[in-house]
């Protein structure tokens, strides 16, 4: 593991007051610029001296990036809105409770007061081989140290690995996938691009050095929650080693709308996502298709959960994630109260 040092390498600190000013700095420094949101992921990188940007752009002074506002039947959340503000917001509590649950599961109260929603979804992987500064694929090298015969890979990927087996650590990401959120990106040329949350995250098969679609100069400015899934039946669960202040081993988020015509027992539509099992949060489309029109019961949950883990390829120390993910998907579909755990 890298040794955290007290003194960071020198860099130019910019504290712009507008998105345009921030992008001017980002464009000037290109790949040598570092975007600072809450700083909770950034400061580790900087103090470990693994990342040595020439310029750090602190977004904390840009009002446009903060706040939660209604938009087209849904909500728009500024990327610099803190997780605590997300948790406290009455509309989120009432209509998008899954995001509340996910944000509240992140880290500790102090960290949620400082950490932002944009930062939470854009944070880098916690793979310690990568964060130690070794020349792995993700760092531009030619090996995955976590996928070697004697690697310690208990927290790593069981699905969608392509050379790199790191996982995405975001708690809010699967909830945003379940809500069909839209990510608003201000591109380096000043344009705006709206990306589905599902497409915002990038796996190693597409780009092994990045976790998101953000290119140098791009900024995530807001996250939009459409009204389509507001007030649905939500389920979020995060399994971690300790119940406070820890990253997810596996998490699951689901949104379900029940068929009103059939007495409310059949699933009309559902969105289900998991995280901690791949380098990006995975939407389980096959599971969604399978449960559509079926009753919400143990039988449906079991079939869906078995489908969810198809193709899983555990590493030496993380085979436990396969039954863990299966059980979480089962609980997300059936509900926690009546679901039995199987190994």
């Amino acid at each position: 593991m890298a040794v955290i040092r007290d003194v960071m390498p020198a860099f130019e600190l910019f504290q712009p007051a507008s998105i345009d000013d921030a992008q001017a700095v980002l464009n000037r420094y290109g790949a040598d610029a570092w975007v600072l949101a809450g700083g909770l992921d950034s400061l580790d990188w900087l103090k470990d001296r693994i990342k040595r940007p020439q310029a750090v752009v602190d977004l904390g002074g840009i009002p446009e990036l903060k706040g939660i506002r209604p938009r087209e039947g849904g909500l728009e959340i500024g990327a610099m809105t803190t997780l605590s503000e997300v948790v406290r917001h009455p509309v989120i509590r009432e209509r998008y409770a899954i995001l509340l649950d996910a944000a509240e599961a992140a880290a500790s109260p102090q960290i949620r007061n400082q950490g932002t929603l944009g930062g939470n979804v854009s944070q880098d992987t916690r793979c310690w081989y990568y964060r130690a500064g070794w020349p792995c694929y993700r760092a531009g090298g030619n090996i995955c140290y976590a996928d070697t015969p004697d690697a310690i890979n208990r927290e790593h990927a069981i699905l969608d690995a392509s050379r790199c087996v790191a996982v995405n650590p975001s708690d809010t990401a699967p909830a945003l996938l379940a809500l069909d959120a839209q990510m608003v990106v201000r591109t380096a040329d000043g344009g705006e691009r709206v990306v589905a949350a599902e497409d915002y995250f990038v796996g190693p098969a597409i780009d092994i050095t990045r976790m998101t679609v953000l290119e140098p100069g791009d900024l995530l400015t807001a996250i939009r929650l459409p009204g389509a899934w507001a007030g649905a039946r939500f389920y979020f669960e995060k399994v971690r080693d300790r119940q406070v202040w820890d990253f997810a081993l596996v998490s699951v988020a689901s949104a379900m709308v029940m068929d009103a015509g059939g007495g409310g027992s059949a699933i009309e539509r559902a969105r289900i996502a998991v995280n901690g099992v791949a380098a990006r949060p995975l939407r389980l489309r096959a599971v969604e298709n399978l449960v559509r029109g079926r009753p919400r019961n143990e039988a449906t949950a079991v079939v869906a959960a078995n489908l969810a883990i198809e193709g899983a390829q555990p590493l030496r120390f993380n085979a436990y994630k396969v039954p863990l993910m299966r059980n979480l998907v089962k609980r997300a579909i059936r509900g926690v109260e009546a679901t039995t755990w199987t190994s």
Binding site: P135, G141, N142, Y145, D147, T148, A161, V202, A205, D207
Partner: protein, 271 residues
Amino acid sequence: MDILTWGRNPWDQAILTHISWDLLWASLFAGVAFLVAHASYMVFSAHRKRHAAETDAMEAARVDLPVRIVRHSLPARVFHWVMAAAMFTLLATAFLPIAGIRFPWVTWHWVAGLVLTGSILFHIVHATVWLDFWSIWVGPRDVPELKAEVLRELGHDVPGPRPGKYPLGNRLYHLAIVATALAVVASGLFMMVRIRTPFVTRNPYLFSDATWGVTYVLHGMAGVGLVGLVIAHVYFAVRPDKWWITKSMILGWITRRQYLEHHDPDRWAAH
């Protein structure tokens, strides 16, 4: 511009990781520069071709030859186009992501690599057993031909020698492509040990970090070299004055007139 990329392994040793991707752009530039330079030379130079009247006379004297001369057998053509498809797939899957066009390329890349490997193995056996193996290679015996070709390119009327089955440029290109393709295939087959495939169990420790670095650099160098070579090959294939050769790779034959105009029948037959 960097040429190589270095890293430090967990034992704090400096290790090669791969080539700098700047070399891709250098190879692209070199390929296009060659294309422009050659095209300009062909437009403005006084390179010497055989006179039509001379070819007429030769054709009249050799009516015993068939109208169509077989240049490439069906297996040879199938190999060529399979190899070409594999090569384009390999280059596209290797370099488009570097150029910013991102897609899941790894599986396509190693599958195309296996197709290329298989086609090369087939070609080696086919050329050794069924074709005139030495007709494609260059050696000291080709120095007079090289001298004559250079003089013709400079506008001199030189009687001979003319090529056998393959023009000298064709043979030199084959030599270059053999060296780069074998380097890329050999290094690529070892690199497959580092990824998940149905064929081999992953073993990232097959080589030391330093040897892996050299393997990746060799693969990268050969890969960017192929970019330039493929540009040159496609350029010659689509040039109007070379189209008869390209056509023969599709149809398998050339006309008697093309045979007599561009080849030395004695040398083609002699090999």
